[in-house]
Amino acid sequence: MYSYIVKRLLILLPTLIGAAILVFLLLRLVPGDVCLLRFGGEGSYADPEQIRQCQERLGLHLPIYVQFFDYMIGFFTFDLGVSMWTSQPVTEEIAIRFGLSLQVAIMATVVSIVIALPLGVISAAKQNTGVDYVVRAFSIAGIAMPSFWLGILIILGLLISTQAWFGRPWMPPIDYVPVWQDPMYNLSQLIWPALATGYRYSAVATRMTRSAMLEVLREDYVRTARAKGLLEKVIVNKHALKNAMLPVVTIIGIEFAFLMGGLVVTEQVFNLNGLGKLFVESVTQSDYTLTQALVMLVVAIFVLVNFMVDLMYAWLDPRIRYN
């Protein structure tokens, strides 16, 4: 087990290095830089001297291989540098947004699990009945609807319905307050994106739960349990569900990783000051240091989540050994 963990951690390193090289090169394929945008983005006059000073300060005047060398030194010494747009440390920029993204990811994952597991199990247990068809339609609709589009519908729905019912339109708050400062305000902002994204991801998990359950329910040991006269409820909940969880846990894990960095459009729709919105801003502003750090963070989250999912396999299925 321990050697497996060490091996997986060692694989993490080349994965991160590969991602670092790729993102460094891809970003520099786009012409222009942050200085041109920052000092000439509005107005019309861009002071060439100021742009030159900016490029020198940020090291953008250096040959690409020198910039790459500096970047890799920073990478290995855990010095992610400062944002090229705000001059604030990249770690600080990310830390401000991390809490919000984590909270939305957790809330959306909870929404997803709460919807997916019961529906998936019921759908499998009642295969080819009216209930099954309704659940399948519900989950296919979730897959078909992008969460940002659902988010837009939620906002418009809230505006229209509150105006119709209470005489004044209302939409969720657009500035973030941490949950420990004002739980109601916080939840009134974050519950809507959590529902929009949670529903989307629950659809995938529902279908996965259903198909895994159907497979397990056809296993010999389930037939044996039924032959022993066990209640169907006990068979499904105690014997089948845990064994059907392997692919579901994988899906939920990957979804969680996506939620941490992939809510690019949904965060914009709800004006959430999270990692996805920061990612869009850093790319549009050609903020190389921040974009590189964010990509590395997302890669690290994916690798770590996959790693944790692998470890959970052993807990779910004691036959699995990491030797």
Binding site: G32, F39, A46, C54, I96, Q163, R168, M171, N271
Partner: protein, 546 residues
């Protein structure tokens, strides 16, 4: 509902008819208290206005700082009405043949950290802007080329000695980017300290800035303009998406947005909220230009460039585009309505492409193209990937050129590569360009069209234009200024057609009607100190219920 809509629509029309004017129908006594929630569509790069150029910094940070002089906050629509902010009395008239300005500085003004303001702070500020030390950035030092020296003979006097009399000096001093800093901060903490720290004398004191989220400020109890500000504080919330800003006002999460919305957004808000929305509208000191690349054939030929300008139906464009985009006014190179700028009648009679006989203009365009041997010209219009108004105007231009037989594609790029193409790589045929300024300062603003002006993306040279501009820059006499301005305009738009004007932008600000006291200016950078704004508390409660 219909009658409510028509009342609001009437107030909009009234606002427009007043040329800028306040469509706010109430003229009640200002009330104290409340927090203004402003949505801002851009991000703060740094707090140092001397190096930044974005409204994303001005809107949240300007309320913490003062200026030496500014546009009149009670009459911001006037492009020539400047008043003292940190100076006392009227804005001083020039002495010594227009080469000396003496400002008397207010007593009893303090920075947020308690340091008293003196003339030395004003001098240190303008020294930093006009004469930055080696390695120190200053985005607007080119505006102060006329300054010879700045003196502070005592704590209450600042003297600007100019090399030559210039009509651009006062408007340049009144620019909203000239935040006055404490000399002590500059001396002890360095010239980059203000990029990440705030210590001003403005109507509000800085409270916090959460990156990407908001900036908040609270009332400065020692503010020097009596009785102001009215608000207890403000919160500037970052919201890059226009739809979010719009819905935030509609949904009661924000009170106002200062940059401006397109006509459709205004109509949607008015339709949804009726009398709860006030709209102010104004000409905007921003204009979209067409910039042909003079180094690329056949755009090195003035006849081809003139033909491109002649093909554009500006009056027709104004009529229809103003219904869907933030453009409206037909004008020359100077801000429409400024005393020095050309009148519509003058433009119509003297500048190519402005005559009302569009058919004749286009026949002339075809003739010019034939003479140049490019009747079936095919080229690519380079444009910025921003809907309002770039892509809308770009698409319209292609249609205009199609009407004289040209085949034009559009090449749209996101902002960063767009600037790289326009300003660095210069590998375009014809590009959309823009001139967007803060204080209306036509003589300075038209340096955009000057080959040596630093923004010559058309990549051309013309000594005659340089000579006219140099004479214009050093002329204090207004009649002479107008004469030279007209000559410069004719040279740019007629003789060279080096660049040409499409339509001037039009600023539309719909906001919650309980917000009172704010008056629209011809720029989204102006009148942003928030000190005149107050909240009608009864109306606020009626609309939001809390």
């Amino acid at each position: 509902m219909k009658s409510r809509l028509s009342r609001v629509a009437a107030s909009v029309v009234l606002g427009s008819a007043l040329a800028v004017g306040a469509s706010s129908v109430k003229a009640a006594t200002p009330e104290y208290g409340g927090e203004l929630r402003v949505v801002v569509g851009s991000k703060i790069p740094s707090y140092d206005a001397h190096i930044e150029s974005t409204f994303g910094m001005i809107h949240p940070i300007r309320p913490f700082y003062s200026l030496l002089i500014r546009i009149n906050p009670d009459n911001p629509s006037s492009p020539t009405d400047f008043v003292c902010d940190l100076c006392v009395g009227d804005v001083p008239a020039a002495t010594d043949g227009g080469k000396k300005y003496t400002f008397k500085i207010r007593k009893g003004v303090t920075f947020q950290d308690g340091t008293p303001l003196t003339a030395a702070d004003v001098k240190a500020t303008f020294d930093k802007i006009a004469f930055p030390p080696e390695g120190v950035a200053s985005n607007r030092k080119a505006y102060f080329k006329m300054i010879d020296s700045i003196e502070a003979p005592d704590d209450e006097t600042v003297v600007f000695n100019l090399k030559f009399a210039s009509g651009t000096f006062l408007p340049s001093v009144a620019m909203p980017f000239n935040f006055v800093y404490a000399k002590k901060d500059l001396d002890e903490k360095g010239y980059s300290w203000h990029q990440t720290n705030i210590n001003g004398t403005g109507p509000f004191h800085f409270v916090e800035h959460v990156q990407g989220s908001h900036v908040s400020g609270k009332k400065n109890p020692n503010y020097y303009h009596d009785g102001k500000p009215y608000l207890d504080g403000f919160r500037a919330i970052s919201a890059p998406k226009m739809s979010v800003r719009l819905q935030a006002i509609r949904g009661g999460q924000a009170d106002i947005e200062f940059r401006g919305f397109p006509p459709k957004a205004r109509d949607d808000l008015v339709k949804a909220l009726g009398d709860d929305i006030t709209v102010q509208e104004s000409d905007w000191n921003c204009v979209l230009l067409v910039t042909p690349n003079h180094k690329v054939k056949p755009f090195d030929d003035p006849k081809v460039r003139q033909a491109l300008s002649l093909a554009i139906d500006r009056q027709g464009g104004s009529k229809y585009l103003s219904q869907i985009a933030i453009v409206k006014t037909v004008g020359g190179i100077g801000f429409p309505g400024h005393p020095i700028s050309s009148s519509p009648e003058y433009l119509e009679q003297n500048i190519i492409g402005y005559g009302k006989d569009v058919k004749a203009n286009r026949e002339m365009a075809k003739k010019l193209l034939k003479e140049a041997g490019h009747e079936n010209l095919k080229f690519t219009l380079h444009n910025r990937g921003v809907d309002q108004p770039y892509k809308v105007v770009g698409t319209w231009l292609i249609d205009q050129w199609k009407r004289i037989g040209l085949d034009v594609d559009q090449w749209v790029q996101p902002s960063t590569p767009f600037y790289a193409t326009l300003r660095k790589k210069k590998d375009f045929d014809v590009s959309i360009d823009f001139n967007c300024q803060a204080v209306v300062n036509p003589i300075a603003d038209i340096s955009k069209f000057l080959p040596s002006g630093g923004a010559n993306y058309a990549d051309f040279e013309d000594q005659q234009l340089e000579d006219i501009y140099n004479e214009l820059l050093q002329t204090g006499d207004e009649a002479k200024q107008r004469e030279l301005f007209a000559a410069y305009e004719k040279r740019v738009l007629n003789d060279l057609a080096s660049q040409f004007i499409t339509l001037w932008w039009y600023k539309i600000n719909p906001y919650r009607s309980y917000v009172q006291g704010w008056k629209i200016a011809p720029s989204h950078y102006l009148n942003q100190s928030l000190e005149n704004i107050w909240i009608d508390q009864a109306e606020y409660k009626a609309q939001l219920g809390n």
